[in-house]
Amino acid sequence: MKNKSRDRNRVRRSADDRKVSLARRRFVAAAGAGLVTSGLPLLMSAGNAAAQGSASAPPDLAAARKEGPLLLWHGDQEGDIVEFIKGFTQKTGIEVVQQRLLPGAAWPKLDAEIRTGNSSVDVYMTSDAGTMDVYRKQGRLLRYDSPELAAYAPQYKSDPPGYWTTYYINVGPMMYDPRYVPEDVAPKTWMDLLDPRWKGQIGFQNSAAGTSYAMWFVLKDILPKDYWDRLAAQKPRGYASSTQIMTDIHRGDLKIGGRVSNFQYLKSLRQKLPIKMVFPPEGAPSVTQPVGIIGTTKRPNAAKIFTDYLLSQEGQKKWNEIQGSYSARSDVNIEGLPPISSIKVLIPTAANFADYGSPAMHATFVKLFNRIVGL
């Protein structure tokens, strides 16, 4: 399970290491050293993980139905997930319960739950592929070779594949409402955002959002080093969600959404509200949103069936139509969105994936971005 090509990072003594050694300890079933409360539950979950069955075993629908409601964690719009789940339940008869958690809240919660043996999550859908990969390395994900994986290009899958797969691509253009911002003065590039006329009128999702982290991660090496300080001087506002950014944009309280998840575009249009997207030439920071099965799942069959459905052409079409986002499958096209090939999409590559996932990098971002949005 441990991939030797990632070894170079193990030299650093970091929290990363401690987590890895924790995982190692777990699988060797050592007695509970360290944290007092983790002894027995860790043993139990180790036993559980071993009993998950082979990675390629096809799921059993009848067994899945009996396994009880599937618990799904995600960071998307609750309404969209609920609608998607409805279709899934109708088709398969498997009940699903969902909980919305931003990655910042989800990871520690998952950590704590696994640690105390309380975990009940089955499938996790997130906007932070880097941390997802860390989890893969720690052996916390169940490997499932879904037949649907063939339709995904390698950059949209885990390496080795089967641990996590991209269920949509979240592209991040700038957005504005033409009723309040005339098209000729609207920013066209990232450097345009530094124009003093936008002072106090730019909005981003706050440091808790995986998309904000990804934005900084991919742009930090492209934009000038002093960009972030100058952006801070623009006093941008930090929002809890992209929906809130859109609310303020359409109200006229916010002029520019600095980076807004592109699915908001279709949502605005469906509400008959005017909205414009800007894909800067430097690139539109995007994230591949991964879905993975948690290793300690008690409902492996249901989890696998859900993954199959989500990643299938039917599921992808359904999901991305509901949400209004881009699918990673080449055979799925969503109406109303400009073709993804016409956009310069910036996503973290395999080369810097380890960096992307490191908690230290995350911590640096959090400190910086909090300062930028005035926290």
Partner: protein, 573 residues
Amino acid sequence: MAEAAGGGSSSLAWLRGIARGVSPGVWLPLAFLAAGLGYPLFLLVTNAFNVGDPQALLPVEYGVANFRELFDHLDWIGNTLLVSISATILATVIGIVLAWVLHRTTLPGQRMFEILIAIPYPLGPLVGALAWSALGSPRDGLLNQLYMSLTGSQEPLINIYSVPGIIFVMAIFEAPVAVLMIGAAMQHMDSALEESSTVFGAGKLQTAFRVTLPLMLPAILSAALFLFTSMMGAFAIPTMLGTNARFYVATTAIFVLFQSYPPNYPLAAAIGVVLIVITALAVWLYSRVLKNRTHSIIFGRSYRPRRLNVRGWGPFLLAFECLYVLVSLVLPLGVLALASLQKTGDLSWIPTNWTLSNFHYVLIDFPTTREAIGNSLLLGVGTGTVGIALATAIAWTVHRSQSSGRRLLEQATMLPQAFPRLIFAFGFMWMVMSLPIHLYGTLYAVLLAYIIVFLPLAYRGMSGVVVQIDRSLEEAARVSGANWRRMMRTVTLPLLRAGLLANWVLLFMISVREVSASLFLSGPGTQVLGPAIFSFWDSGGLQRVSALAVVQAVIILIAVVVVRRLAGSKAAE
């Protein structure tokens, strides 16, 4: 439970009675509070000094680095104090004026106003913040739209996303507590004290300032302290009205620190510890100031103080009352009702644009909210019942038994109010996660947290009720041959009943509208209304959030009506 003279005929009971020992009525609740309050506090404090792995539940490396880091962010603490103190002052002033008008003037319609003024509190700050953001947002707010269309101005009348906006909304939704507490004291004042002032030549206003107000000071300070400690932990209003304006207070900062990855628990714990210290300081200051004053001017016989004829001031005072009801009840409920009927986030007055689909969605379609409503009702009943039972037992032990340790018990019972609720909740969450029993992720964890957090309020209420019952009524029962159980059953509990009911409903309403205490503890399967509305606001549209808020408001209003009906059927003593 009472270790009063004459308890038990065995020599063991004798020893207990004579030695004035500590009865189970004292040490059981103390143990419960020590565990439920002390352990989370311990976890918070140790984590505040954690400089090692931020994720470790029990830190191994200690230092003050977190507090040094906090020093760079003193504006969080400063902002918290700014809004808390300002809003407390504003709410207290509103409370004094309203209480005085309600109980000491001859103006008409005060009974109706009494009910109307009490409603905003159980509706809650979450509903209030939501409503006022729809009313006062600079471009889109209903009030601003009206203003701009009426005056043709390009500039909005108000911007609710500002520090004054936050202070205003916080004050008007907490003011009813001040009205209640100060009003209770005003109702029981001996009017002879004021009358002699007028006999010696002081006019009405002079009397009000030189006699009434100073006499009310203990009650006023008590209400102000309660408000201050609540506001220190306020979360909903600063989040919904502040973050868009880059204004952060301690609670909203903690929330973001929590949600970011990796979460900075130690820094958050350090903030929590600082807040607790400040609040505890306020409690201590309050008890010092009141040390030499008699606490209650409530006399045994019920005094109905005479009401003043305010003549020329009448219309102004009535206008003030109407203004308060307008900004705290009519406008908020109105705008939410309007928004909940919309198809989109825009507010339209044309009925043909209206729809009930939002309610359908919230009540039937969306499983989270359905579950949240059910859970909140359950939780409300649970908190009310267990909370009142516990509070009554403690109140009875403190005021009626002879056991030693009663003062300590009373102080321990009021201790939770020194903990801003959000802070307590995340310490509590850690405690729950670290316990070997399966409590985490269940509704019981939330119930337990609610009971502890609301115990001071419940105790305050039941204490007042217990004290009012003349001790000789219970003694007469005992002399007439009733043992302790029979006395409780036939005399004490029936006499407590009206007070029990009123306080039960208060606890019910407060637990239904709570957000901060359950934000970290509720999750899938244990969704409750407050956090559900909050996350709905995060990711849903105004029309749907409003529908959910309206549902919560309706539940609260039904509870208010029920209690009025039940309280009205029993004659007030």
